[in-house]
Symmetry: C2
Subunit: 213 residues, 2 copies
C-alpha cells in the first residue's frame, strides 16, 4: 500500500497515539494493548489496530505494543524522528504567539528563523530569534536546510509570500492566513482555519436542536 | 439518518463548499454543478453529491445547484444561519491575535466578551473589548447568551478553566491549549493543536522519501 492511499484521519490519529504513548513512557509504562491505547483516546481497539496496520505489524502476541518501540515507529512514519528546522513569516500578534508557543520543540520541530516584510520589525528580537528581511529568506532557508514554513501573514499577502517560500525551496507550509493558497503539487499545505473550526463546533452544538435530517 | 452518523470529514467539507459558494456569489455566479464545485476544491463530483446527500436534495435537474439557495442550506446545517456570540479566555499573545483576527465575523461568529485571570489585564481594552475578570464569566455568558468559548490559556490552566466554562453554561469550546481537556458529553470540544498539524505536514513531506510501506 502507498502512503497516499492511507486515509487522512488515520494519519491524524497517529499523532494522537504518539502523544498518548509519550505520556505513557513518561509514566514508566512499557507495554500497552490496542484496547488500552484506544480507550484513553476514545477509539475502539479495532480502530487502533486498523490504523497501525496501514504501516506495519507492531504488536507482540501476548504482550501488546512495546511503548518505546511503537513511539519510535510512529516518529519515523510521521517524519519526526529527526528535527525539522522551521521558519516563520509574519511577526504580528499571531506570529508572536506562535514564537511563544512551546509545543513545537518537543515534537521534533525547531523554529530557527523569523521574517517580516515590515522594515521596522526587521532586527527586532522575539525570544532568542531576530527578525530577518524577506529578501534574506532563500539564503537562510538554504543555509539552515529549512523545508517547513509557518505562514502568519495577512490574507492579501499570503499567496505572494507562499510563492516566495516555494521558490526558496520550502516544501511544506502551515498556513494561518484565512485564505486558500495555491502551490505546486510537490509542496504540502496544512491550513489552520479558525472559521472552519468554529463552524464544526456550531454544527455539533446544533445537533441537539435538529437530531434527524 | 442522524447527524451523529455523518462522517466528520464530510462536515469539514461542508465548510469548504460554503466558502467556495460565498466566493461564487460575490462573483455574481448563480448556479454551479457538483463537478464545478468539486473541481475548485479538488474533490470529485461524486464526493460533492455524496456529502450533500447526507443532508438533503439540493440540486435541480438540468441546472445544478442554485448558489444562494445552497449557501442558505449549508449555513442552516452548520448552524451559522444565526450569529453566535463567542467569548474568549486568555488575553496573551495568542488571545490578542485571535481578537485581531477578523475571519470570525463574516462567518456568523461574534466575539463579545474577553476574560483573563491576571488582574493586571482586567480592565484593559483590546480593540473594542475590555477584559473582564474570570468571576464575571457566568453572569456575562448568561446575559449575552454565550454558548461558545475560545480557550487560549496555558496548558496547565486549561482543564480548570474548561470546567469553569462548562459550569457557566458553555456548550462548545475551541481549545488552543496544547493539552486534552475533559468535558461532559453534551459539551463539544474542537482542539487546534499545532504540533499535530506540523506532524501531518512532515508526514506528507516524508512521502517522497519512502513511498511504499
Amino acid at each position: 500500500m502507498k502512503f497516499e492511499d492511507i486515509p487522512t484521519p488515520a494519519v491524524y490519529r497517529l499523532s494522537f497515539y504518539l502523544r498518548q504513548l509519550e505520556a505513557l513512557l513518561q509514566a514508566d509504562k512499557n507495554t500497552i494493548s490496542s484496547k488500552q491505547l484506544g480507550e484513553a483516546l476514545g477509539y475502539s481497539d479495532a480502530q487502533v489496530r486498523k490504523d497501525l496496520a496501514y504501516f506495519g505489524q507492531f504488536g507482540h502476541p501476548g504482550i501488546g505494543y512495546r511503548v518505546e518501540e511503537l513511539i519510535s515507529h510512529l516518529r519515523k512514519i510521521l517524519g519526526t524522528d529527526k528535527i525539522w528546522n522551521v521558519l516563520l513569516v509574519g511577526v504580528g500578534n499571531l506570529g508572536r504567539a506562535l514564537i511563544a508557543y512551546r509545543g513545537f520543540l518537543r515534537k521534533g520541530f525547531q523554529l530557527t528563523a523569523i521574517f517580516d516584510a515590515d522594515e521596522h520589525k526587521v532586527g527586532q528580537a522575539f525570544g532568542d530569534l531576530i527578525v530577518s528581511p524577506m529578501e534574506k529568506l532563500p539564503e537562510i532557508a538554504a543555509r539552515d536546510n529549512i523545508k517547513l514554513a509557518i505562514l502568519a501573514v495577512p490574507a492579501d499577502a499570503a499567496q505572494r509570500v507562499a510563492e516566495w517560500l516555494v521558490s526558496a525551496g520550502i516544501r511544506g507550509i502551515l498556513n494561518f492566513a484565512p485564505v486558500n493558497i495555491t502551490v505546486p503539487q510537490d509542496v504540502s499545505v496544512q491550513s489552520v482555519d479558525l472559521a472552519v473550526q468554529l463552524e464544526q463546533l456550531s454544527f455539533k452544538m446544533s445537533l441537539g436542536d435538529t437530531d434527524e435530517v
